[in-house]
């Protein structure tokens, strides 16, 4: 199945070669730098794991098999954390290519915001909107 970086309640921002992801559902932040950021940006550009690994191998001359297995392991860990999801692949951008040398990709995880999230009185207000109550339905009929 294709992978997408469009995940509900996940905010992403790119700063030069760094990507910050913030999960609004559980208050966890992630920092992706170096190859980790490049893999995420590759997925965002609509590339498959094989295409990303192949692009890295072409630019670095490293062993494609080794890169593929490391990229796959990283993608699996991002899936497990909910940083990407199975679904329709992101729109393909023809201009993407990896920047910098390849190193085993990994993310930094910051969960010190969980407490803050629990403290906040309105953090889970959201997509469900404002369901009408029965009394309001009655109001409508009158």
């Amino acid at each position: 199945m294709a992978l997408t970086t469009s995940v509900p309640l996940l905010i992403s921002q790119q700063f030069d070669s760094e990507v910050v992801l913030a999960n609004y559902q559980n208050g966890v932040y992630y920092n992706l730098d170096g190859s980790a950021a490049q893999v995420w940006l590759g997925l965002k550009a609509g590339r498959t794991v094989e295409e990303i690994a192949g692009a890295f191998a072409a630019t670095t001359g490293d062993d494609p098999g080794s890169i593929t297995s490391q990229v796959q392991a990283f993608v699996d860990s991002m899936l497990a954390e909910g940083l990407i999801a199975n679904g329709t692949a992101d729109a393909r951008s023809e201009t993407w290519s990896p920047v910098g040398p390849f190193a085993a990709p990994e993310f930094q995880r910051f969960d010190n915001l969980r407490e803050l999230l629990l403290m906040d009185p309105v953090h889970d207000a959201g997509e469900e909107g404002w369901p009408l109550r029965e009394t309001q339905e009655t109001y409508k009929e009158n």
Partner: protein, 335 residues
Amino acid sequence: MKASGLIRQEIAKVFAKADFDKTMSEPIEAQARCGPFGLRLGFASQDLARMFLPAYIQRPPDTIDLDLRFITAADHDLSALVPEASEKPRLLIEDGIYSVWQPAVIPVLYAVDLIARRGIAWLPKGEAPPWIRSRPAISLIHAMMHETPWCAVHAAAVGSTAGFTLLAGEGHSGKTTAALACAKAGWRYAGDDFVAVNSETGQIEPLFCSARLRPSLVDTFKSFIGETTPVSDFNGEPRHELSLADLGERIGGGQLRALFIPRRRGAALPEFTPARQSDAFRALLPTTAYELPGWPNEIADKVARIGGLTPVFFADTGTNPMDIPSAFALQLERL
């Protein structure tokens, strides 16, 4: 009728003159500046005015951008607007209506008709959580900033002749200590909790003239803050909710020159370490986004832009708060 239609209808009723006169025995009106906006404030009673007015910067604005009324269940029965499953917080953004239901221990309903530019803060129990008194109806100000370059950010901001610094960080990082130390030293003060920042130009404007002070800091700032209010306690976070209205014209804004991320790493004197735009983003976004419901992607974009407007530094604020102003001034002048 859609929920937004019902809310719009009830807001209009609150503002109907005849209804206002009939139900509110002692309405209080005031004008205030709140970030880039001018507010006309209406309080249904002296009690409500005493509760919220001290936090507002009471200066006549050039224009009125929002008419805002504070009312209780005794003034208007708005229980029909409370959403289903009322124990849950809820957010509605629909057809020009923005509304937040905060159940908590002391419930509050905020709603604004962004087309009519009229808002309400409804307090079903006649009282408000103390931390809301220091930043009343800030979620409605956030709604007014939608599709503008302005953003209400969780940060303190103070300014010297060299420009303003935004102090961003989690609780206990030392934002209030640094901001009050600078204000005590004669700096301009734009806030210690939430301030308005233009994400395109870097202009900073105060939203409120309040401060949220830990009891342990009262002695440090006693001569400056005057009388303290009773301590509020929100989830084990005791605070004095203060009004700094006596600072007068020193409550104000200016141009952002640097973003400092206060942290305590044991330095005796204040020290600065260069930080990245992403550090500023991480320092600003969490509380900003969590406390201002709605449009999280837009908030993240604005916060990212703000983090990239100026140099960013980690600031170890040292052991003596009174050393902070001169160190901050020196750092700002170097830029």
